[in-house]
Amino acid sequence: MSKELIRLSDCVVKFDDEIVLDHLNLYINDKEFLTLLGPSGCGKTTTLRIIGGFQRPTSGDVFFAGRRCNDLPPYKRQVNTVFQKYALFTHLNIFENVAFGLRIAKVPEAEITRRVEEALELVNLPGYGKRSASSLSGGQQQRVAIARAIVNRPQVLLLDEPLAALDLKLRKDMQVELKRIQREVGITFVYVTHDQEEALTMSDTVVVMDKGNIQQIGTPEDIYNEPKNAFVADFIGESNIIDGIMLEDKVVKMYGKKFPCLDAGFAPNEPVDVVVRPEDIDIVSPEEGQIVGTVTEVTFKGMHYDIIVDFNGFKWLIQTTDYSPEGARIGVKIDPDGFHIMKKSQYSGQFGDYSSYSAAYDELNEDAETEADDE
């Protein structure tokens, strides 16, 4: 494992008595692609701003390469930032935008030229130097913003929802691009997003945050497969979360029935949250099914159907390639590895019920993200 580069120790941030960060502890390794993921107002941007030096923690310490740097202003940190809306300097052309940091640092002219051209090459914008910032498309402007940041050879690049303003297709391309750039320059990326797919695609480590607290830290696979609580399970992908009781190791009871699973380590008869991912459910005939329910809604999603099934008043989301018409009685079968058992938490009962399901669930939480973060 590579060495630790940044450490936030017991950081608290308050704005007018409102707690934005609640005793946050986090370390970031060198050359790591770490993503802070969470809904708006969860404190992820604040965390980024603390690292960048734009925000001082109300209490707690920030360490950079082992040195406390609470009081270090942004311009003295070996950190550069890519801002959400690019924040390009419209009075300068592309070349001068990228060269800005180097000129402040009084780098010799020849080196500036070389490094700026390298950086523009890296972001696939060679020869764009003479053009004005406003003549570029959103994606191109974002590349310029990235070039402008990495040309300074920072140890850490902070990215504050850099792709939020781009359309879906461009966003996907840029995800790949960013990952490539990170590999090529080999520095630490700290990435802030509310888009779980983005987080899973690019990150080495994902930090899921909510209400100023870290909910879970782990690799994308860990986070997805082994969510710690209902919040993480719901926020990362889709989850059906059902109240259950852990009878003994590897046996969970719900709907009055016993199901074999792979989880262990709970107290006998401990109430738990049972997570079943929509894609881990097989549809079978009612006779074969472990439990039986009624289809209430079917939505075509291209690669699969989203089916809402009512099991004794609790609605599940099932993603399947098999079409079942509305009103059909179906049975479902879940393999032991399809269950994930979580301890009860403050989030229990708040997530995982699709009773109020709407086809637009993808878009939930995506609005007003920026405004809430700004204030």
């Binding site: 960048g52 030096g53 734009f54 202003p73 942004p74 311009y75 950190v79 550069n80 930032t81 801002f83 959400q84 809306k85 690019y86 924040a87 390009l88 300097f89 419209t90 009075h91 300068l92 052309n93 592309i94 070349f95 001068e96 060269a99 800005f100 940091g101 402040i104 640092a105 002219e109 500036i112 030229t113 700026v116 051209e117 523009l120 914008l125 060679p126 020869g127 764009y128 130097g129 003479k130 053009r131 004005s132 406003s134 003549s135 570029l136 498309s137 191109q140 402008r148 940041a149 300074n152 700004d374």
Partner: protein
């Protein structure tokens, strides 16, 4: 459709014609050869040439440019920082402040002007107490106790009303800024200050420039606020133009107005073209298809010109500040004398001669009437050194202790004054005054507009000439016409007599006898044949008759008023020595001759008075008409029929005021 569009085009044409015809007329006649505003006498640049030789105009132009430039620079800096401050506030506070900022722009200029004037005068009063106190408790330095309206207050006023315009044009640029720009700059290694200079300022520069241009235009353009805050010692171009219109509208005014109009139009054009260009640029960049890569970046190129322009801008700023500073310094350091007199009451050559001889700058202002001058002095806004009031006003000012005794040892030319004009009732011991001119009041009439020659003051109240009569717009002279007609003493204090006189005027007024109550506007009206009869001063008749030979002058049979206008110095005048020098210069025979020739009022200088016909003959190579000379310098037998005003007791003055206000003339 076509017919319709032709019609609408015609209609548009009419609208524009209506809008611009007056200005076009003004511009056209500024190139007129003769001095008429109606008859085209051929193209010439005479009026422009005269304009640039007119020292009062050139000085006010200098004042205008100086105050506009300094005010623009300061307001732009202050406004920009204010905008940045506002930007950093919460939205609600910002909205409140923006509204507060907009109020001065919407507010009537007159209110702003008066308010500022009051504020300054109140502050000066406070300052006086403060300075006296400071001076009394320590002896290290002495603070000046007497502050007056002048260039600094004018400048402060201009800065004040300019700031909102700068704010208004900078704020939107700031709002358009990406909120993260400062963060981005700091992130790239700038300190906060560098971020401000290298990023924020260049990003909002278009807003700052158009704000500065707007402010400059507003400053150049302003009359009302300047009028109330400039005091007596400075005068902006528009104030000077206003002062000039009090007399005949000379084509010189057309010329200067044309120049002012063109300047403002040019500034507006620059502002608009800049904005249009920016918009076009923005549009083109949005619509531009992405050009394929291949053009190699040229990093060196943008660097040098940028540095150059920055250098040039800095240089220009320094130059402006330097000129401004030097100008201000220059203005305050050179000895100066502030003179307040009447309109067209001096041969301006004399001012130039005096300045060349003594190195003392003359700041020459005019007041409309004795009463106007008095209220100006009382309000504390008139801080002159030398004033030239009429006899009765002099005794009033003396009684109120507003005059300073003169040092006659510094005025040797006083000995040249005819003994007839020394020790007059208004200054029995002759301690305060040196006579400037003297003259008589009479009736000017247009011989082509009246049936028979006017001989009586009755003409001023006669229905026969209803709508054709011009009455004095000052209470003393107006009341005198009625008192004389009624056969009373012009200095009466009898309330009945006075009420009777006022009743006579009020009655005539209600019957529509008077076309207007005027002072110097009488020139325009009588010369243009717009009125048949007007009471005014003999010397002014002689000026008017030059432009309209149909005019005649009479001292009515009931008798009239003869007056002396004399120079005196105000109490605590800041430039006493310079005032003495000025008075001595004006009392000289040469100055008296020149003045007599220019304003046609009689001189109190014995040699000048007697020598004028000869002077005239030599100058114009023709004999001076005896009749003209006698109108100018009334012979003793005419003077015998005339009475001079004496200062009225307080009670009577109040009555005058009351009666005058009742007449409803402002």
């Amino acid at each position: 459709m076509k017919k319709n569009s032709a019609f609408s085009r015609f209609f548009t044409f009419l609208v524009f014609l209506f809008l611009y015809a007056p200005i076009i007329l003004l511009i056209v006649f500024s190139f007129n050869q003769n001095n008429s505003n109606v008859v085209w006498g051929g193209f010439s640049l005479n009026w422009y040439r005269e304009l640039f030789q007119n020292r009062i105009i050139m000085r006010s132009l200098y004042t205008t440019l100086l105050v506009s430039l300094i005010a623009t620079v300061i307001a732009t800096i202050a406004g920009t920082f204010a905008a940045i401050g506002f930007y950093g506030l919460r939205r609600r506070t910002r909205n409140v402040l923006n509204t507060v900022n907009n109020i001065p722009m919407m507010n009537a200029d007159i209110v702003t002007g008066v308010a500022m004037c009051l504020f300054f005068v109140a502050f000066f009063a406070l300052w006086k107490d403060f300075a006296l106190w400071i001076n009394s408790i320590q002896s290290l330095f002495t603070l000046p106790t007497r502050l007056t309206l002048g260039f600094p207050t004018l400048l402060i006023a201009h800065i004040t009303f300019n700031i909102p315009y700068v704010l208004l044009s900078v704020s939107p640029k700031l709002r358009q800024l990406d909120k993260n720009l400062i963060d981005a700059a700091q992130d790239l290694g700038c300190t906060w200050f560098q971020a401000f200079w290298k990023v924020i300022l260049p990003e909002i520069k278009p807003g700052i420039v158009s704000g500065a241009l707007t402010a400059f235009t507003m400053s150049i353009d302003d009359f009302i606020i300047s009028y109330f805050t400039a005091g007596s010692s400075s005068s902006t171009l528009s104030m000077t133009i206003y002062g000039m219109t009090k007399k005949r509208v000379s084509p010189e005014i057309n010329a200067i107005s044309t120049l002012l109009f063109v300047t403002v139009i040019l500034l507006l054009a620059i502002i608009n073209i800049r904005e249009a260009r920016q918009e076009r640029l923005a549009l083109r960049q949005q619509g531009a298809p992405s050009v394929s890569a291949g053009a190699p970046a040229a990093p060196k190129k943008p660097v040098i010109p940028q540095k150059l322009t920055r250098f040039a801008a800095a240089l220009a700023c320094c130059a402006i500040l330097l000129t401004a500073g030097v100008g201000a310094f220059h203005n305050t350091r050179k000895p100066i004398v502030n003179v307040c007199s009447w309109g067209e009451y001096i041969d301006e050559e004399l001012i130039t001669m005096f300045e060349e001889q003594t190195g003392i700058l003359v700041n020459y202002q005019t007041a409309e009437s004795n009463e106007a001058l008095y209220s100006l002095l009382k309000s504390g806004a008139g801080d002159y050194d030398v004033i030239v009031p009429s006899d009765y006003m002099i005794s009033q000012l003396m009684e109120e202790g507003m005059l300073e005794k003169l040092d006659y040892s510094q005025i040797p030319n006083f000995s040249l004054i005819d003994d007839r004009f020394k020790n007059l009732p208004y200054d029995p011991a002759n301690e305060y005054t040196v006579p400037y001119t003297w003259g008589t009041v009479g009736i000017i009439y247009n011989t082509t507009m009246v049936a028979e020659p006017i001989t009586s003051w009755g003409a001023m109240f006669d229905d026969k000439y209803a709508g054709e009569v011009l009455m004095f717009r000052n209470s003393r002279d107006a009341m005198a016409t009625a008192l004389l007609y009624l056969g009373y003493d012009v200095n009466t204090t009898d309330e009945n007599e006075l009420r009777q006189a006022a009743g006579l005027i009020a009655d005539a007024k209600s019957r529509g006898v008077y076309q207007a109550f005027v002072m110097d506007e009488i020139f325009l009206k009588m010369e243009g044949g717009n009125a048949a009869i007007g009471a005014y001063y003999a010397g002014d008749y002689l000026t008017a008759v030059e432009n309209n030979p149909d005019l005649a002058f009479v001292i009515p049979e009931e008798g009239s008023n003869w007056f002396v206008d004399a120079m005196c110095v105000l109490k605590d005048a800041p430039h006493y020595e310079e005032a003495m020098a000025w008075i001595n210069f004006i009392a000289s025979t040469e100055a008296n001759l020149r003045n007599m020739d220019f304003i046609w009022y009689a001189s109190p200088n014995k040699k000048a008075l007697e020598g004028y016909p000869a002077y005239y003959e030599e100058l114009y190579k023709e004999e001076l008409d005896q009749e003209t000379y006698e109108i100018m310098a009334a012979p003793p037998e005419t003077l015998e029929r005339c009475q001079s005003y004496i200062s009225l007791p307080e009670e009577t003055r109040r009555l005058y005021n009351e009666l005058w206000i009742k007449l409803g003339i402002q």
